[in-house]
Symmetry: C2
Subunit: 417 residues, 2 copies
């Protein structure tokens, strides 16, 4: 493959995670390590707020900024996209619409201005769509540039890759907090139900992670409901009644995306006819909806906990496996691009679960864009109210290991770009 | 002071914290360290679910159970009350009601059965009431026993003591998660408000802690509302408008206990006329109420995050200062009781903030029971929408330092008693 000389640029896109900066760090490390005599990449720029910022020439020279190991270490432990993010959907590169053509012409003029020959985009599904389109336009107009996607999403719902960077840390936070909530709920002897609502609108990977403790120390939520199965309120009540016969402090993990068989969201169910002082309809959330339903049916103490944003930004509790893999996949993306790969997305390929062996490869970006990977049937139990041990064992290696987070005066240190 | 020989018992009561087991560990360490020739305390029992469990003779021999340092270390990092808790209010020991007298007679008969001469109770306000009453009955009936209270509460709202065991770890979790949420919210360029609802119905100590980052690295919520000041919606809107002129991603910390000038809870305000499919009135919570109000007024993106249970049970992120102090105060309670102190509660006395110097003492339990310590005026700014730097500096030493949490296969190890 012909060597390509010039500069590189990297962007972050889509929802933030606790590991997306670790991947950014990997790209920086990849570029820095090839520097010197005969380097293909001279400078690495970062685009602020993804493609959106690039259109306004809002960039930062990362290869200049990262001049010491400490800064790189801090970037690895800083949650959320340090370069900022965006949610821009690019036009069809084969469109004949003048506005669409003008968009690409402006974008590629800016790239040429910076002499960008390597383009790295870290993001989820939509971002891989961007990679595919950038790659297509470059090819069409004959602009020599290698375009690489690096996946990230806490949802773990991208196909082709075994799992996604960022998922392991989110899963570790959820599994850990779940053990702590179980401790908290066990202190009283009165009947009580605690509903824990977990992120994941379509795929139940994060909710499934709440059960990992079962294969570690035997503690896990009593019931686990994933969006892959439709939710039945009467069956749910029956299971709660059964579980109450075993012990008084029930903990139930539910996905925010739970739906009834007719397609209504469980959270949305609460909405009908309800409006607040401002006339708003309430979308109470799945946890709240189930809290009210159980209170109504059983009259016992019920509370709901929405784990919310900390699931995706708890930089103080990172999975070492996730962070190391997230750095590696960014670094490998640089190596692959220098070797001539383009229009592809980096992926994880797991060859063994025990012991855990996982390698990094790449795949055509079209195989990953705009598709969703659900929790497979064999990971969900027959009564659709828990995950199987196989599921927990599959997830476990992704949360193993801790990072030595650097603190300053009691608070984790973050880097601001 | 005459030496008193016999056994000891310890209980936990009230809402759990991440440090209440560290104090339990301190009591165990205190008893173990005086063992040997001439020991006053022979055995240390734990009562399950506080006084309630003791009435059913549900106990565990802690001095037998804790036979190695590893178990003690695990107890220190296990969140929530390992012995279980209760919320029992004891009858008036001077009551002439037969039922009340029968209660105390049964309770003290059980204590005599176990030959309990040292009684330690770890808890909040109500638990100190229990200590006072137990002490009074023992005195009245001439039962020789030293009764000591050891405070705990994440709310930090007990008088006399500088701060409470458990508060520092809750404050560290809140301050840390706040920095992470600020990172998360900064990634987009569109106008958005994030409301973070923090525990503390009456006192605003925990909400104030969300601002500690300001004196560490300059990052803190834009606005901070404590329950010590009445909340005005129009003033709030005006401040949001001002802040939007500075930057687009606003983060607001609010106490769950915020009230309007007329005494209505801000969360309750949303309740009027609102009922769900089951006819329930909604108590949406302060965060949700403000989320809807801002959405109505500004039409921008708004979300609310309730930090919820993890505030009090995040054993994976403990303040080393808090845990060390929590252990010490438990140990000192044992020493004080052996020295003859009774009917008192252990307290922290701070003699200096920078450098932080804090000693452990004890005080008549009647001075602490049934009273609330609010955030003082000098810690709240004039416009009542933030805390002062003095407040942050006062809180800072309580969150300093991290604990080396022991993990097993990716999850923190907890001990089950």
């Amino acid at each position: 493959m012909k060597k390509l000389y010039g500069n590189a640029i990297v962007g972050q896109s889509g929802g933030p995670t606790a590991a997306i900066n670790a991947t950014l760090c990997g790209v920086v490390r990849g570029v820095l390590s090839q520097m010197g005599e005969g380097a293909c990449i001279e400078k690495l720029y970062g685009m602020r707020n993804g493609i959106e910022g690039l259109m306004d020439r809002r960039t930062v020279c990362l290869s200049d900024f990262f001049d010491c190991e400490e800064k790189l270490k801090l970037l690895e432990q800083t949650p959320a996209a340090a370069l900022g993010s965006c949610r821009k959907k690019l036009p069809n590169p084969d469109s004949t619409d003048e506005k669409d053509i003008a968009f690409y012409e402006k974008l590629f003029a800016i790239l040429e201005e910076y002499n960008i020959r390597y383009f790295f985009y870290i993001g989820g599904n939509d971002s891989m769509d961007t990679v595919a389109k950038m790659s297509r336009w470059a090819e069409k107009c004959g602009y020599e540039m290698r375009v690489m996607g690096v996946p990230k999403t806490i949802d773990n719902d991208l196909p082709t890759t075994d799992h996604t960077p960022g998922f392991g840390s989110a899963a570790k936070f959820i599994a850990t907090v779940m053990q702590e909530i179980i401790c908290d709920c066990a202190v009283y002897t009165t009947k009580a139900v605690t509903i824990v609502e977990i992120m994941g609108r379509d795929a139940g990977w994060l909710t499934a992670s709440s059960a990992i403790g079962r294969v570690v120390d035997g503690r896990a939520p009593d019931l686990v409901y994933l969006p892959e199965r439709s939710f039945d309120m009467e069956q749910f009540f029956a299971r709660i009644e059964e579980k109450f016969r075993e012990h008084p402090n029930l903990v139930v993990a539910v996905s925010e995306g739970l739906q009834f068989a007719d397609g209504r969201y469980v959270g949305e169910g609460q909405q009908s006819g309800v409006a607040d002082a401002f006339g708003h309809k309430y979308l109470s959330g799945t946890g709240k909806a189930l809290e009210f339903a159980i209170k109504e049916r059983f009259g016992c103490k019920v509370r709901s906990v929405e784990l919310n944003l900390p699931q995706r930004c708890a930089g103080h509790l990172l999975s070492r496996t996730d962070i190391e893999e997230s750095v590696s996949i960014g670094k490998k993306a640089v190596e692959a691009a220098i070797d001539g790969v383009s229009g592809e997305v980096m992926i994880f390929v797991r060859s063994s679960t025990a012991p855990y062996v996982c390698e990094i490869s790449h795949e055509k970006v079209t195989k990953i864009a705009n598709q969703t990977k659900y929790v497979p049937d064999e990971f969900i139990n027959e009564t659709a109210d828990n995950v199987t041990d196989d599921c927990c064992n599959y997830l476990l290696p992704l949360i193993v290991g801790e990072c030595d987070v650097i603190y300053n005066n009691g608070l984790p240190k973050h880097i601001i770009l």
